[in-house]
């Protein structure tokens, strides 16, 4: 880990959500646990805190993606309320869209580790000196050396990084750019703390391909990969919205994949009135031929 100034390091970890998720109010780690002596690990090569940090990062990713999927399809849940667009009918969380995203990102996006690893590393080792004042920072506890070490060890290990983590980091980084106050508050992640309009503003930054971010990532990649990485960001920005929406409106949460049957009626089907009696072999919607013409010739 480069020896960045502790204060900016702290700001950076807060921005990607790790500091708050681990140690903030409602955080997942008791501060004392970060003392190495208190922790055990199955892998003798990794420092003990890595075992503690892994579930924190997973929860942070889930919380961030909850914030994303309700952005795609709000419902009656607390995240939609925070976002300012509560809805009385079931939404993305009820339809299982967050699990859809996590499963897709962590298991199916065939994204090479050779890229995921440096992007994750870039995000986590990245500069914090963004010039953004983070008013909520004083609410977060100051411990970070152990946290930093744990993250670094985790990222430098040969464990595959679940892609949901750098994606969450990206969204949180953008979130604190849009609203610095999002470093602390309800939920675990800065992105989940945003309003609908602020989330949109965060995506506007990604679609433009925020220059700070590109600069941050670019230092980690040689040409011609540099250009690919910034292009990838634009792709990721669009894909996050489109996939979250696809997942929210699909049968994902209720489809039993082994029997190929539905456990319940999918949220989107109830909402939209699709297939009122379930899958069909056909419909009685054949009206005839336009102007009675069944074939044409030159």
């Amino acid at each position: 880990m480069p020896a960045a100034a502790p204060l900016s390091r702290r700001a950076f970890l807060a921005r990607i959500g790790v500091l708050g998720a681990a140690l903030g109010g409602g955080g997942l780690l008791a501060r004392g646990l970060l003392a190495p002596a208190d922790a055990a690990t199955g892998n003798p090569l990794l420092p003990p805190v890595v075992d503690l940090i892994r579930p924190v990062l997973a929860e942070l990713a889930r919380d961030t993606l909850n914030g994303l999927t309700v952005f795609a399809m709000p419902g009656p849940d607390p995240y939609s309320r925070t976002q300012g667009t509560p809805s009385s009918t079931p939404g993305a969380l009820e339809s299982g869209a967050t699990d859809f995203m996590i499963e897709a990102l962590d298991n199916f996006v065939p994204f090479p580790d050779a890229i995921a690893q440096p992007i994750s590393a870039a995000l986590v080792t990245g500069l914090a000196d963004s010039g953004i004042a983070l008013p909520g920072l004083e609410l977060l506890p100051p411990e970070l050396r152990q946290l930093d070490r744990a993250l670094a060890a985790y990222l430098q290990s040969d464990e595959a990084i679940p892609l949901s983590f750098p994606i969450a980091g990206l969204l949180n980084l953008m979130a604190t750019q849009v609203n610095p106050l999002a470093v602390s508050g309800v939920h675990l992640s800065p992105f989940a703390r945003l309003t609908y309009a602020e989330k949109a503003a965060a995506f506007a930054l990604i679609e433009k391909t925020d220059s700070d971010l590109v600069a941050l990532l670019d230092v980690h990649f040689p040409e011609p990969l540099k250009e690919s990485v910034s292009g990838l960001l634009k792709f990721v920005g669009g894909a996050l919205i489109e996939f979250a929406t696809f997942g929210a409106y699909s049968e994902y949460g209720v489809l039993d994949k082994t029997t190929k049957t539905l456990r319940r009626r999918p949220v989107a089907w109830s909402l939209s009135g699709y297939q009122p009696n379930g899958p069909v072999e056909g419909w009685d919607d054949f009206i005839g031929y336009y102007q009675g013409r069944k074939e044409v010739h030159d």
């Binding site: 952005f71 795609a72 399809m73 709000p74 667009t85 009918t89 859809f100 897709a104 199916f108 996006v109 065939p110 090479p112 050779a114 890229i115 949109a200 995506f203 506007a204 679609e207 433009k208 011609p224 990969l225 250009e227 690919s228 292009g231 990838l232 920005g237 669009g238 894909a239 919205i241 489109e242 929406t245 696809f246 409106y249 699909s250 049968e251 489809l255 994949k257 989107a268 089907w269 909402l271 939209s272 009135g273 699709y274 899958p279 069909v280 072999e281 056909g282 419909w283 009685d284 919607d285 054949f286 009206i287 005839g288 031929y289 336009y290 013409r293 069944k294 044409v296 010739h297 030159d298």
Partner: protein
């Protein structure tokens, strides 16, 4: 030594395989993805099961769905919708089979001759291709689409535009009509009942109006494979290719191997000319490599994969046009919401169209909920009401163009998916060198360096942009004419599914990869026979019919040039792919 090896069993490859197998050649058809021999067991009708591009049964990837899909690089907000598997991307398609506009061919001298991409025309005339159109139309067979409610609503809107109805196969002027499509018309109880007990073959034949075209057609229940309603090539040309001995005199069944990824086309200098000699392919399951030699090699892996294979094979790219000129019809998406029932999710995905030679066209497209939602959120104009990403055009639609998402999308969908009518705007787009496939700098996969698909969305030619704006306005007028209370324009980011011309044939050796015969200019005995061989975007019509007509012509050129045979399209009668001899033989083969 094979006579012919065809790479890819998608829209184009099986056409060459079938035609040459019918002539008795020894044909090997290699397909990178799965063979869905038992759709009733392998498929369902769920979007998550079918259309999830990462893990669905329709994706670009190996048969084993627990393995990741093959990743491709797209360095922009876009989506390339290509499929692996027998049938290729036609497993997804809607079977729309309009002919290319005559204006995109050499020698066209209509009054509007300068309205097309005149720099990138086909190197032969429209009338040269007509017998091949007719041959494919008879083989599939292509029919005039049956009408459901959503088509009736579309026609109601089209009737307000002051255009005539087209009643010919050839499109001569702006007009609208039912699609000519490769969908068997409903017969018996099909289209007349929702009672599944009454929808078994042969009581029901042809299209049952189930509305699952995007999830794959396996209807009517119990029909022989070659009599499924939707004529994707896994139901039409592939069954014919592998049963060629029973329906063609002197025919020899083509051998089909699925899960076989071709990683290299071999070539050597012969008499001073670079000549293709065979291929290496990799078994996705075992990882074993196989090498086979052939007298002729035909690339039909599609617009994205052919350039990749070309580059990975170390073949020459003298004028730099391999992978360039990738056209995609610069689509846009318009959504109309109605007070009344539109029947949106029922019936074939799209059975009505409007053509505007020189500009492009429109077609209705019905989609299930997740794809509907996906389509509403793929935009280059940000999120409606929030940000515009530097665009957000206004016009005869409501509010700025952009993603319809979040609360707005939910409200729209809650109004009823069967109260929507969605229109695909299809642009007559110019061939542009900058839209292209190269090799990616991202890590290679097990089959070698991967393709990168670059689209300069914001730098299209003035004519292309003009055409898209023109057609988007027409779409809005049509939707209003049909009674839409609200019209949304999404301003799609590139959704690349009408893929064309990345290995184009052309009049000039300066900007084309193939001769008019389909043979590579730089490599003898190497042909390309799929959408990538097309000279341009056809003016807007959906590409598969034209690809297959050109592929049929290419098969004749191969037979004449390298096997001393005679052409047959003008002298013989085509056999229809629903022929009972094919059904019986498929039954014997357990397929």
């Amino acid at each position: 030594m094979r006579d012919v090896i065809v790479i890819g069993a998608g829209g184009g490859g099986p056409v060459v395989a079938k035609e040459l197998a019918a002539k008795g050649l020894d044909v090997l058809l290699l397909e990178a993805g799965p063979r869905h021999a038992k759709p009733r067991e392998e498929w369902s009708t769920f979007e998550e099961d079918a259309n999830n591009p990462l893990s669905g049964y329709f994706r670009l990837g190996p048969t084993d769905r627990s393995k990741p899909a093959w990743y491709r690089e797209w360095p922009q907000n876009s989506f390339v919708w290509q499929l692996s598997g027998v049938g290729g991307t036609t497993q997804h398609f809607y079977g729309n089979y309009p002919r290319a506009y005559p204006g995109v061919f050499q020698g066209y001298d209509g009054a509007d001759r300068n309205e097309y991409d005149v720099k990138h025309r086909f190197p032969f005339t429209y009338s040269e291709l007509v017998p091949y159109f007719e041959w494919v139309e008879a083989t599939m067979p292509v029919m005039t689409a049956a009408m459901g409610t959503k088509e009736q609503v579309f026609f109601k809107g089209a009737e307000t535009l002051g255009l005539p109805v087209q009643t010919t196969k050839t499109t001569l002027r702006p007009s609208y009509r039912p699609q000519e499509n490769a969908i068997l018309q409903p017969g018996g109880t099909a289209g007349k009942t929702s009672d599944k007990n009454l929808l078994n073959y042969p009581q029901a034949t042809g299209c049952t109006f189930c509305g699952y075209c995007f999830q794959g057609c396996m209807r009517p229940n119990g029909a022989p494979r070659n009599q499924f309603a939707k004529r994707s090539t896994d139901n039409s040309y592939v069954p014919m290719a592998i049963t060629a001995n029973v329906w063609a005199r002197g025919g020899k069944p083509a051998e089909l191997i699925a899960d076989a990824y071709v990683t290299k086309v071999h070539s050597e200098k012969r008499n001073g000319e670079l000549t293709a000699t065979g291929v290496t392919w990799r078994d996705n399951v075992s990882g074993d490599e196989h090498r086979e030699d052939a007298r002729v090699v035909v690339m039909a892996g599609g617009c994205t994969e052919n350039p990749r294979l070309w580059f990975n094979s170390g073949l020459p790219n003298q004028n730099g046009w391999v992978g360039r000129g990738y056209t995609d019809h610069f689509f846009d998406w318009m959504i109309g919401s109605f007070d009344d029932y539109t029947g949106n999710p029922k019936g074939v995905g799209s059975s009505a169209r409007l053509d505007y030679p020189g500009y492009g066209g429109l077609e209705n497209v019905g989609l299930p909920p997740a794809l509907n939602a996906f389509s509403g959120t793929l935009s280059d104009s940000g999120i409606r009401g929030q940000y515009k990403n530097g665009r957000g055009a206004t016009g005869p639609w409501d509010g700025p163009a952009g993603r319809v998402m979040g609360p707005e999308l939910k409200e729209l969908m809650a109004g009823g998916i069967d109260r929507l009518l969605t229109v695909l705007v299809i642009t007559d787009d110019d061939v542009e060198a900058q839209n292209r496939v190269t090799l990616s700098a991202l890590p290679a996969d097990e089959n070698g360096p991967i393709p990168k698909v670059t689209f300069k969305q914001r730098k299209r030619t003035r004519r292309t942009v003009r055409n898209r704006e023109f057609m988007a306005r027409k779409a809005a007028e049509l939707l209003r004419g049909a009674g839409a209370k609200k019209v949304y324009r999404v301003d799609w980011a590139p959704l690349i599914l009408h893929v064309q011309s990345s290995m184009r044939m052309g009049e000039s050796a300066q900007n084309s990869v193939l001769e008019g015969s389909g043979e590579a200019r730089a490599v003898k005995r190497l042909f390309v026979a799929d959408n990538s061989a097309l000279a341009n975007g056809l003016g807007g019509p959906n590409p598969t019919l034209t690809s297959q007509a050109v592929a049929t012509r290419t098969a004749e050129k191969i037979f004449q040039t390298y096997f001393d045979g005679d052409p047959w399209v003008r002298s013989e009668a085509p056999v229809v792919s629903t022929d009972p001899r094919v059904s019986v033989r498929m039954g014997q083969l357990g397929l």
